[in-house]
Amino acid sequence: MSDDFEPKIVAFLCNWCSYAGADLAGTSRFQYPPNIRVIRVMCSGRVNPMFVSRALVEGADGVLISGCHPGECHYEKGNIIAKRRFELMHELLDFMGLDPGRFQVSWVSASEGVKFQDVVTRFVDQVKELGPADKINRGDEL
C-alpha cells in the first residue's frame, strides 16, 4: 500500500476513562497520529455493534472502541456487557472475511495517556497495512 494513505478512523471513547485518557495524552503533549475522529459516548456499553458496521459502510477505514478497564466501569458493568457484543462482532467480521483488523477494542483508563498514544499508533499502523476499506464501503464522503 502506498505510504501516503491516511486512514479515517472513528473512535468511540467512553466519557469517564478513555476520553479523559485522550485528554491527558493531549495535555501531556504525547504525539499520536491525527487519523482518529473521536465520538464521545457515556459508556462503552452504549456502543451498539451496528455502529461498527454503519461506520464501515459510511466510509470509515477502521473503528476503535475504548472504555474503562473491566471492573472499573462508572456504571459498574457496562463494559463487561459490551465485551460480549464486541467479541461476537469480531468473530462475525472474521467469519465473513471482512478484515477483523479494522475493528479494535481497548481498555484505557483516565490516567493512561501513554497507553492511549500507544493504542492509537498501533491501530493506525494496523489499518494502514490493510489499506483503504473498499469491501462494504458505500463510497460516500465521511
Partner: protein, 321 residues
C-alpha cells in the same frame, strides 16, 4: 397406533380447550404440507405429518401472542396447541425463556421426526412441476411415491439434528425414533478453514443476490419485535433500503447479531429465502461462538442466562488490547 393417529387424537382433545390447534395439512402442491389452524374436530381430521411437514408452526403462536388487542377486547386466557418437531419445540423453550408466553400457554404435540426434505433440493431433482403425490419415511431414508429418491433430499438443518425426539412435549406415548450421534458444528468449521479472501468472495456473491424482501425476518419465530431496527426511520435510518452490497451486508450482520445465542437453527430463514442465501451459516457461526466462548446453548433450558443480556467478568478477551 401410529404417531399420526395419536397426533389427531390428541389434537381433537385439545381443540375444545384451546384457542386453536395449528398443524399441517396437505398443500396445494401435493408433496408439500402447509399450516392449518384447526378450530373444530373436523379440521383436525385433515392433519398430516411426514417428511414434507417443514414449516415451523410456532410462528403462528408468536404472532397470536404478540397481536395488539382490539378496543374492549380482553386477552384470551386459553392456550394454543401446536404440532412441533424437535427443532420447533426448541423454539418454544426459547420463547418461554424470553417471556413471550408462559410454558402453560402452549400445548405442544411433540412429533418424533426422522428429518424433513429440502424443497429446493427436491425441485432440482424432480423439477418444479413434478407429479409426486407423497413422500414418506422408509426404513432407511425417504420414499418418493414408495420408491427410493433420485438423490439426497435431507434438509441441511437435519444433518446435525440433536432433537429428533422433541425435548419438551405435552403428549406422552409417541413412538420414538433413533437418534444418531450429532456432529456439532462441522459445516461451520470447514467454512472457517477457508482463506479469508475466499470467504468474503463467497459472502459478497451471496449478499449481492439479496433482494431485501425480509422473508427471513418474517418467517423467523424469534424475530418478533414490534418494530424491527431495520424499519426504524427516526431519529435516523440504520441503513438505506437499497439492495446494494454494503446495505445488504449491514442487514445480514445485524440479523445474525440479534439472533446470536437465541437462534435454534430451525432453518426457516434459509427455506423461505427466494435467492437461496445460506443464512444458516451466519447463525450457525454465532451459535458456535456462543457455545465455545460463553458456554451458552439455545433451546435447551428456559432458565439459562441470556447471552447478550447478561455478563460475566471471566469472559474470554480474544482481541482486546
Amino acid at each position: 397406533m401410529s404417531n399420526v393417529d395419536k397426533m389427531r387424537e390428541e389434537a381433537k382433545k385439545l381443540v375444545s380447550e384451546c384457542r386453536f390447534v395449528v398443524g399441517y395439512e396437505r398443500g396445494t402442491f401435493n408433496h408439500l404440507d402447509r399450516a392449518l389452524i384447526a378450530k373444530t374436530p373436523e379440521d383436525v381430521d385433515k392433519f398430516v405429518f411426514g417428511p414434507t411437514s417443514i414449516p415451523n408452526l410456532t410462528l403462528y403462536a408468536v404472532t397470536d401472542f404478540r397481536r395488539p388487542l382490539k378496543r374492549g377486547e380482553s386477552p384470551d386466557a386459553r392456550p394454543i396447541g401446536i404440532v412441533c418437531k424437535g427443532c420447533d419445540a426448541k423454539t418454544i423453550v426459547e420463547l418461554v425463556r424470553e417471556h413471550i408466553h408462559a410454558r402453560d400457554q402452549v400445548k405442544i404435540i411433540g412429533m418424533p421426526c426422522k428429518g424433513t426434505i429440502d424443497p429446493k433440493k427436491f425441485a432440482m431433482l424432480y423439477g418444479e412441476d413434478n407429479d409426486v403425490k407423497q413422500i414418506t419415511w422408509g426404513p432407511d431414508g425417504f420414499l418418493v411415491d414408495g420408491q427410493a429418491p433420485k438423490g439426497d433430499l435431507l434438509a441441511g438443518k437435519c444433518l446435525h439434528c440433536k432433537v429428533r425426539n422433541p425435548s419438551v412435549t405435552d403428549v406422552d406415548g409417541m413412538e420414538q425414533v433413533d437418534q444418531p450421534e450429532a456432529a456439532g458444528f462441522e459445516g461451520i468449521e470447514s467454512f472457517e478453514a477457508m482463506d479469508p479472501e475466499d470467504r468474503w468472495r463467497f459472502f459478497e456473491g451471496q449478499f449481492s443476490k439479496c433482494i431485501r424482501c425480509y422473508a427471513c425476518r418474517n418467517a423467523c419465530p424469534l424475530c418478533y419485535c414490534h418494530q424491527c431496527s431495520i424499519d426504524i426511520q427516526k431519529p435516523f435510518n440504520w441503513t438505506q433500503k437499497f439492495t446494494e452490497l454494503p446495505d445488504n451486508t449491514f442487514y445480514h450482520t445485524m440479523r445474525a447479531l440479534h439472533l446470536a445465542g437465541r437462534c435454534v437453527d430451525c432453518g426457516e430463514c434459509e427455506r423461505v429465502c427466494p435467492m437461496d442465501i445460506p443464512l444458516r451459516l451466519l447463525n450457525g457461526k454465532m451459535a458456535k461462538v456462543a457455545y465455545e466462548n460463553f458456554n451458552i446453548e439455545s433451546g435447551e433450558d428456559p432458565d439459562r442466562p441470556s447471552l447478550l443480556g447478561g455478563c460475566d467478568p471471566n469472559d474470554k478477551e480474544c482481541f482486546i488490547w
